[in-house]
Amino acid sequence: MAVYIVRRLIAAIFLLLIVTAACFVIFFLVPRLGGATPEDLASRYVGKTADVETIHNIAVRLGFTEPVYVQYGRFLRGLVLGADYPTGPTTTHCPAPCFGYSYLTQQPVLPEILDRLPVTMSLAAGAAVIWVVAGVSTGVVSALRRGSVFDRTAMSVSLAGVSLPIFFTGLLTLSVFSYTLGITAPGGSYTPIEENPLLWAYDLLLPWITLAFLYAAGYARLTRAGMLDTMGEDFIRTARAKGLPERTVVVRHGLRSALTPILTIFGLDLGLLLGGAILTESTFSLPGIGKYSVDAITNNDLPKVLGVVLVGSLFIIIANLVVDVLYAVVDPRVRLS
């Protein structure tokens, strides 16, 4: 088991390196290969007001004129040791881990992202609780009563759930529950949980439900399919042959197996969401990482975009690692390989 975890950990670090390389290629190398001069690259960092001379100086100071591998080395160095960015006459230090420096806001990117993390985390965690509970229980009941009215209704609703985009369901619920009925927050506000937990939940309720609906629909379908498979397994027949009550057969023997693949998907979904629930945050104007990245893209603020991509990748890699380890805890056969 320890060997397994160490191996997964090494794989995760490796993956992280690959992700940084990919980011580097996309943000620095591809534009260069596409014919962008070092000055073109530099101009994106300073805005359009600077004159040619300044831009050239900045291109040199940012290292865009150097060979690619040197640039990648500097990029990695910044992640590990921090970096210094030329800001006019002085330089600004971006402490490690430096995910970049935004010339537009004149701030290192990472603290800005970390500021927004609680919003995204609150959104993702609350929604996750709802969608796992709702999705899995719906899926189980559907599988056990296959073909029943409940099953058919649940599957139709979930088909709608996986097909309807967030901004549609989001705007619909906003218009009904917030604007017509006035029972939920109108969006655009976020209260930190440590300030007022009730208000926190009130502000997030509608985004939670909207986001959870999308995922719960998928999880219900997955759980149903998994349960139908599992309940036909030989070991279920063995469990019944022991004389176990049906409830025990379903939960301890059936659900336990059916949940394993769902665990994997859950980890990845959560990791992905922590990097920013772009559509939900935009629809409900929540100041999270997703909204931050949309703003960054709109303002053509490249360092921010790169920072968000790196943070998002980090979450996914961590989620992957956690899932791998949990998988081995759940399924003893995994520990062998």
Partner: protein, 360 residues
């Protein structure tokens, strides 16, 4: 939840048990198990009767698809209530199982009757240790502590021949070899000292070398615990030596039944002859073998009229039209020995002695 998922639907009310009758411990009477499907009704078992006393072993033999597993699952009450129509009577001690409350049958499962299955790997839960799975069965029916149950699991594993049982009790099924898994399944089945043990092709998925060991183990334990045993197989050779009685099934019905010696040495049904001809023999090449039964088992949705075996039987023409039109009844051909065939008894005896046996 148990009520709507498990156990056979009763089609007739519970029949009162004739008092003081010398009814055998397991007594199956005119069992019918039909599955309505989109293509028609599958008559998997269609009028089957047999019985087993405690301390005795019955071997049920037949090609795959003849209804052996369906029969055993009916006894265990493991058919889904919605999908199977079950009629007839299954007496287990003083309980009639077909009409019984599913909850009652559930309580008998694992305690009074237990079952081991063909593929011991898929039959064990991959996420729980072998010990946990044995303990689960034991603790369900016995009010004991975890520690006591664990001790019992180790004893059982030791008894079924698992070396270093006290360590292996914490292993997962995938750590065990095929033969050891089946031993562990046997330990699980025997954990509550069942009075009836059903083994459905217990060695089919195993290496030839361990098959005999597993069968020996079942026989040993059966003698020790005075259990009634039903061993199901498609290999007549397997049960010939270890069963007291043999029931040969074809298309959901009995073709022949009787004491093992008689069925094996003086079979009176052409299908049994065919099965004998398919028993592997060390001293003959496969090509030399006499009677590999031609054709394949019939559809159980459209069972051939008359004798279900007639499309494959080399002697179907000897009886005028009867083999094709009239279903042969099971009639006595010797002491406790029954067979269902239209051919004259003398004719069958002569045929077997003059033409079949010399080539076996």
């Amino acid at each position: 939840m148990a009520e709507d998922v498990l156990a056979g639907a009763p089609e007739s009310g519970p029949a009162p048990r004739p008092s003081g009758s010398g009814r055998p411990f397991l007594d199956v009477r005119d069992l019918r198990v039909h599955f309505p499907t989109d293509d028609g009704v599958v008559k998997a078992v269609d009028g089957l009767s047999f019985s087993v006393e405690r301390g005795k072993r019955l071997g049920i033999v037949g090609e795959s698809g003849s209804g052996k597993s369906v029969t055993s699952l009916s006894i265990m009450g493991l058919h889904k209530r919605g999908s199977a129509r079950i009629s007839g009577e299954i007496w287990l001690g003083d309980d009639e199982l077909v009409a019984a409350d599913p909850e009652r049958v559930r309580r008998l499962r694992g305690e009074t009757m237990a079952m081991i299955f063909q593929d011991p790997l898929s039959a064990m839960h991959p996420y729980y240790t072998v010990g946990d799975q044995i303990m689960e069965a034991y603790r369900l029916h016995n009010d004991v502590s975890r520690r006591a149950a664990r001790k019992r699991a180790v004893e059982l594993l030791d008894r079924v021949g698992i070396p270093r049982a006290d360590a292996r009790v914490d292993d997962y099924p995938h750590h065990f070899s095929g033969g050891m898994r089946q031993r562990a399944m046997i330990a699980m089945a025997l954990s509550c000292n069942p009075q009836l043990l059903i083994a459905d092709e217990p060695t089919t998925a195993l290496d030839v070398t361990v098959q005999a060991q597993i069968l020996d183990l079942i026989v040993d334990l059966q003698a020790e615990f005075h259990t009634a045993v039903v061993i199901i197989t498609h290999d007549l050779g397997v049960v010939a030596e270890l069963a007291d009685d043999i029931l040969v099934m074809y298309a959901g019905r009995a073709a022949e039944s009787g004491p093992a010696v008689d069925v094996f040495t003086e079979p009176r049904h052409p299908y049994t002859w065919g099965l004998l001809g398919s028993v592997p023999r060390w001293d003959r090449e496969r090509s030399e073998r006499l009677l590999p039964i031609s054709g394949s088992p019939p559809s159980l949705i459209n069972v051939p009229p008359g004798c279900a075996f007639h499309p494959r039987c080399p002697y179907a023409d000897r009886n005028g039209d009867r083999s094709r039109t009239e279903r042969p009844e099971l009639v006595e051909v010797g002491p406790r020995h029954l067979a269902a065939c239209h051919m004259g008894l003398e004719e069958r005896a002569t045929l077997f002695h003059d033409e079949i046996r010399p080539k076996l």
